[in-house]
């Protein structure tokens, strides 16, 4: 099973293993990693699952689509590596993915 490493805003690391096909949002929520709220449950409607993708993984993770990009403009502290974690699906390709969490979602 691919692993995802989450790094909280204060630097606490948690590594979780999830089945391929799981979203990064679910990888966090299902394993009790705090910092992702995911109020809409992955419907790309709430923007409370904001995360930063580690630079080394950006190319593999790919670009947000138009809806996601519009929402990302309005999250707190948007960065070029900002993504909505419910829109990233974990795969073997992304085994070892590193995700940084923002200080706050809202």
């Amino acid at each position: 099973m691919p692993s995802v490493k989450f790094i909280s805003h204060s630097g606490v690391e948690s590594e979780v293993h999830v089945a391929s096909g799981t979203t990064v949002m679910h990888a966090a929520v299902d394993n009790g990693v705090s910092g992702i709220l995911a109020d809409c449950g992955g419907a790309c409607s709430c923007a409370t699952c904001h995360c930063f993708v580690d630079e080394a993984w950006l190319a593999k993770v790919g670009e947000p689509d138009d809806v996601e990009a519009q929402m990302l403009d309005f999250v707190l502290d948007p960065q070029p590596n900002s993504r909505l974690s419910c829109q990233i699906t974990v795969s073997d390709e992304l085994d070892g993915l590193v995700i940084m969490l923002p200080e706050s979602q809202i």
Binding site: D30, N31, G32, D39, A43, C46, F74
Partner: protein
């Protein structure tokens, strides 16, 4: 921090958040979530959307996996109906006669569908849509070429219509009022959704008065007051919900269109909080008492309730927001439009697949319905949360960036 037993009644959006937030807030006592459905708390919104359309499996609906509760020391008592709250002895009574003592109690009993006492309402093939079990039963009647009649042109009725079109069914929506979504949106938004549904092949009848559901053992048709009979292999009734307040009422708590709570989610008993669809609460941003039916409210009010139980009084003051997905249309609503006296449109409602309707009372912006316009939803959510002021003329002008309309 308290080592008392916290018991949560109901096991859905509000309960799942309450349990998790209690632990995060440092609650050291036992936590139990008691619900009458058989599975752990799950996301209800996909029921009329991706789950009904067969695009999501039930495993994908869980808010958190069962293992999460185990790890967090939260007992899930599922398939158990609470029949009484005994405040004097601080215990709840279950349908099988068992009881569970509590130190603190949280009511997260949600809402149930409003039923119509129509002739033929108990025929096979007639459904309401609230629970996973409802959709599983509905799905045994769906299939390409079959006919569905949906009674009620609210969000759930329209989402159900869209999902059934995806399944290749012939779909009619019956709305008693002159337009769909009449109670919740401006005429332009209703007009937009009627047009799209018609373009997608849904037959919409407004001002419809249903007289009876007809059939042998299983439903075959819906009879209207004007004598029309519509073929139906399946009928889904979606005419709103009522808060589940009977436990609270029988226990003597204040109830008035929902369990009455204060800004800290406290009921009239200091040992009992309540959150979600079942509550009547105060919203300071709009200065009204109201009952909301949304995931946002269930989640955010549950956090307030958990804080209160952990001894941290923080008033509930979140901006309400909501979403609805139909076909390729993503509707996002920020704020509460009730009481609006004018509407400003950005984009066209009579052509295309996206625009926004901004609701005003005088010159105060109340809310936005943003259809395939996530940027406008996000902008208004921010503006209403942080108190920005708005220039309505700029809102209506699409050549001006939305951010320029706010200051």
């Amino acid at each position: 921090m308290s080592t008392e037993h916290a018991v949560i009644v109901g096991a859905s959006h509000a309960a799942a958040q309450l349990g998790a937030s209690l632990r995060q807030g440092g609650w050291q006592g036992k936590i139990s979530i008691v619900g009458d459905e058989a599975i752990p708390p799950y996301h209800r919104p996909p029921l009329s959307k991706a789950y009904l359309a067969g695009e999501k499996h039930s495993d994908e609906l869980l808010i958190r996996p069962a293992a999460f509760y185990e790890k967090s020391g939260i007992d899930l008592v599922l398939g158990s109906r609470v029949t009484e709250v005994d405040r004097e002895n601080k215990k709840i009574v279950l349908h099988d006669g068992g009881s569970i003592p509590y130190g603190k109690l949280a009511l997260a009993t949600g809402a149930r569908v409003r039923k119509l006492a129509l002739p033929g309402h108990d025929l096979d093939g007639v459904f309401y849509l609230r629970d996973l079990g409802d959709v599983d039963r509905i799905r045994s009647f769906t299939g390409p070429g079959k006919s569905a009649v949906i009674v009620g042109g609210g969000y759930i009725g329209l989402e159900t219509a869209a999902s059934m079109r995806k399944l290749g069914m012939s779909v009619t929506v019956l709305e008693a009022l002159p337009r769909v979504l009449q109670r919740v949106t401006a005429p332009e938004v209703s007009g937009f959704y009627s047009r799209i549904h018609r373009e997608e092949g849904v037959h919409i009848i407004t001002d419809a008065a249903v007289e009876a559901l007809e059939g042998g053992s299983s439903v075959a048709g819906v009879k209207l007051a004007d004598g029309t009979v519509l073929d139906a292999d399946l009928v889904v009734i979606g005419v709103g919900v009522l808060p589940c307040t009977e436990l609270a009422e029988a226990a003597g708590l204040a109830v008035d269109n929902g369990i009455v709570v204060d800004e800290f989610a406290r009921t009239s008993d200091p040992n009992i909080v309540a959150a979600g669809d079942c509550t009547n609460h105060y919203n300071p941003l709009y200065d009204i008492r109201l009952r909301l039916e949304s995931v946002q409210n269930a989640t955010d009010q549950a956090k307030t309730a958990a804080n209160t139980l952990c001894g941290k009084l923080e008033a509930y003051h979140t901006l309400p927001w909501f979403w609805s997905d139909q076909y390729d249309l993503k509707l996002q609503i920020a704020g509460l439009s009730q009481g609006f006296d004018s509407v400003v449109l950005r984009g066209a409602s009579d052509t295309g697949r996206g625009f926004s309707a901004f609701y005003f009372s005088g010159d105060r912006l109340l809310a936005v319905d943003a259809i395939n316009r996530p940027k406008e939803f996000m902008m208004v959510r921010r503006a209403l949360t942080t108190g920005l002021s708005v220039d309505a003329a700029k809102l209506a002008d699409e050549t001006i960036d939305i951010q320029q309309a706010f200051s």
